[in-house]
């Protein structure tokens, strides 16, 4: 027999009280796990929206020429060759220190073409990157697969009476319309999207870029730092972080995080207090038993270990139960509370071990004084029969 057998047997004997103790601690851990999970769901939702919204960072040539604009932000005129962005700037962006935070780097060249007597803006893009960036695009037809395929903005298609499958001639180059975009309500409705290399060729601006859109992984994005590092890499470019309305959502999330932390601390303190009062009461109930232990030669440290072991077992069980309950509640109640769909079940090892560790730690800390009190009990007082 070992000391742990004494602890386990005692817990088995006092099932009712132990369940109450576990419940007290479980409520605390459940609250923490629920709040962390809900915060995470909200965070992911905001990141998703940021990604859907498009680029977080816009890189344009440093120029005084404000002739063209895109996305509500003015950028330099393509005519100023000395300050144009180059295709060789792309690898430089990919080399910044916080490159793991970069998701999409989408270079663009804007030009103008004459189509049936109408001047239509043309945008050269890498379709793979662009489609990753603009997840909200709905295409009637197909995604362009070859260099000779283009996408038409909704308004352009209407004005030119063109639809998917038909052909166009851009500066003398025949291209096929792979698809037409659904109305987006943005400048994209007025653009023809073609392969970047093709646009560079027909506008006779090889290697030239008008702008680069960069999307960062916004769960972790240190956006200001990315801007700073790209600016350092591209001294001739103007790098701007697009701070849109989602910034407000981020601030709300920060407030919620602070609120969650406060609530978690309070609930955990209450959980700790429940453990403390219960263990203290249990120690007083077990005076006689502790007296027997001491009389037959148990050291103070043995008594402390028995009580700590009991608290640890209770804490670990409460940690596991609390984690599972918290996960369940965040999946079912979280969406109602936040208006964000719960999505898939995320099993985060850090949160599992964190909850169990935290619960065990609270168990031990809350039992520290009662354990010390028990070890200091005078065996003769404890053993009244002697």
């Amino acid at each position: 027999m070992r000391l742990k057998d004494i602890s386990i047997n005692n817990l088995r004997r006092r099932k009712g009280k132990v369940i109450f103790l576990i419940l007290g601690l479980t409520i605390g851990i459940t609250t923490v796990v629920t709040l962390i999970s809900i915060t995470r769901i909200m965070n992911e939702d905001i990141s998703k929206k940021l990604d859907e919204f498009g680029a977080n960072i816009l890189i344009i040539p440093r120029s005084d020429d404000l002739a063209l604009s895109y996305g509500g932000i003015s950028f330099g005129g393509v005519s100023i060759d000395t300050q144009s962005l180059k295709a060789s700037d792309i690898p430089k962006i990919r080399q910044i220190e916080v490159r793991e935070s970069l998701s999409t780097v989408s270079p663009k060249l804007i030009g103008v073409t004459d189509l049936e007597g109408k001047r239509v803006p043309l945008m050269g893009v890498h379709f793979d990157e662009e489609l990753k960036l603009k997840k909200w695009w709905k295409i009637h037809g197909n995604r362009p697969k070859t260099r000779e395929e283009v996408l038409l903005g909704n308004e352009v298609a209407v004005r030119l009476f063109k639809s998917a499958g038909e052909t166009l001639s851009i500066n003398g180059r025949p291209v096929r319309i792979a698809g037409v975009l659904d109305e987006t309500g943005s400048q994209d409705d007025f653009l023809i999207f073609a392969d970047l290399a093709l646009v560079q060729e027909v506008t006779k601006k090889p290697d030239v870029l008008s702008l680069i859109e960069v999307s960062a992984l916004c769960n972790t994005c240190p956006i200001e730092e990315i801007v700073r590092q790209i600016s350092k890499q591209l001294p001739n470019a103007k790098v701007t972080a697009i701070k849109q309305t989602l910034q407000t959502k981020m601030e709300t999330l920060d407030h919620f995080k602070t609120f969650s932390l406060g609530i978690s601390i309070i609930v955990l303190l209450i959980g700790g207090l429940i453990v403390f009062t219960n263990v203290m009461a249990s120690v007083n109930e077990r005076k006689r038993e502790i007296g027997i232990f001491r009389a037959i030669g148990f050291r103070k440290s043995h008594v402390v270990r028995i009580i700590f072991l009991e608290a640890l077992i209770v804490g670990l069980i409460a940690g596991v139960v609390g984690y599972l309950l918290g996960l369940g509640i965040s999946q079912f109640v979280g969406p109602i509370m936040t208006g964000v769909k719960g999505g898939k079940w995320v099993i985060d090892p850090l949160l599992i071990f964190g909850s169990i560790f935290l619960s065990g730690l609270i168990g031990i800390l809350s039992s520290a004084y009662p354990a010390l009190h028990a070890s200091k009990m005078d065996p003769t007082v404890a053993l009244r029969s002697l």
Partner: protein, 225 residues
């Protein structure tokens, strides 16, 4: 050299403004293999003497020497180690741990000795056979009769083969027949060389001992061999 030597032992308690003398000027030697009965009326200091002999109660004056160990010069933790190595306690109302089975109760003193579970189990089984409780090994204390509980308490006290067995009214809660059986068990243990010091009210019990001492108002009255 005597196994136990008590010199000038005195114990007083504070009661309000006054000090109450529980034991006064006790001088006593107990030899290896002695079976000593301590008798006296209630409040005579019997239990106080037993707790002092058990290293549980610091005397106000004087000391207790066991072998060459001066008990109350030891630190509290060393005193706990001493109890584990030297003493077996049998308490008045059995004092078994209610949530441990018979064999687990017997193994309790072994659980802190570093012995393997197998060794502990073997030692406990041997002792249970000796006290006739092999069949009851997996029962909980509340499933046993008073006599059986007492025998478990004895088994727990001797499983570690301590040189000294201290018993406080071991038959106090038993009927006379069961009490007699327990006393015969004590006698057998003593005949095997076990030193026993037993506090008792019952003069019939003292007949089993090799020596009886009487206490009155904390003072030693006389000795019988």
């Amino acid at each position: 050299m005597s196994l136990i030597e008590i010199k000038g032992l005195q114990k007083s308690y504070k009661s309000g403004e006054d000090r109450v003398l529980a034991l006064a000027e006790i001088n006593l030697k107990i030899e290896r293999g002695d079976f000593v009965s301590v008798m006296g009326p209630s409040g005579s200091g019997k239990s106080t003497l037993l707790t002092i002999l058990g290293g549980l109660n610091h005397p106000t004056q004087g000391g207790v020497q066991v072998d060459d160990i001066s008990l109350y010069d030891l630190s509290l933790e060393k005193l706990a180690d001493f109890r584990r190595e030297y003493l077996g306690f049998i308490f008045q109302s059995f004092q078994l741990i209610p949530y441990l089975t018979v064999i687990e109760n017997v193994m309790l003193p072994l659980s802190i000795t570093g012995r393997s579970n197998t060794e502990q189990g073997k030692m406990a089984a041997e002792i249970l056979e000796k006290v006739g409780l092999t069949e009851r090994r997996t029962r909980l204390p509340d499933q046993l009769s008073g006599g059986e509980q007492e025998r478990v308490a004895i088994a727990r006290a001797i499983v570690n083969s301590p040189p000294i067995l201290l018993a406080d009214e071991p038959t106090g809660n038993l009927d006379s027949k069961t009490g007699g059986e327990i006393m015969r068990l004590f006698k057998n243990l003593n005949e095997e060389g076990q030193t026993i010091i037993m506090v008792t009210h019952n003069s019939e019990n003292s007949d089993f001992s090799t020596r009886t001492i009487f206490l009155r108002d904390g003072r030693l009255q006389r000795r019988e061999c």
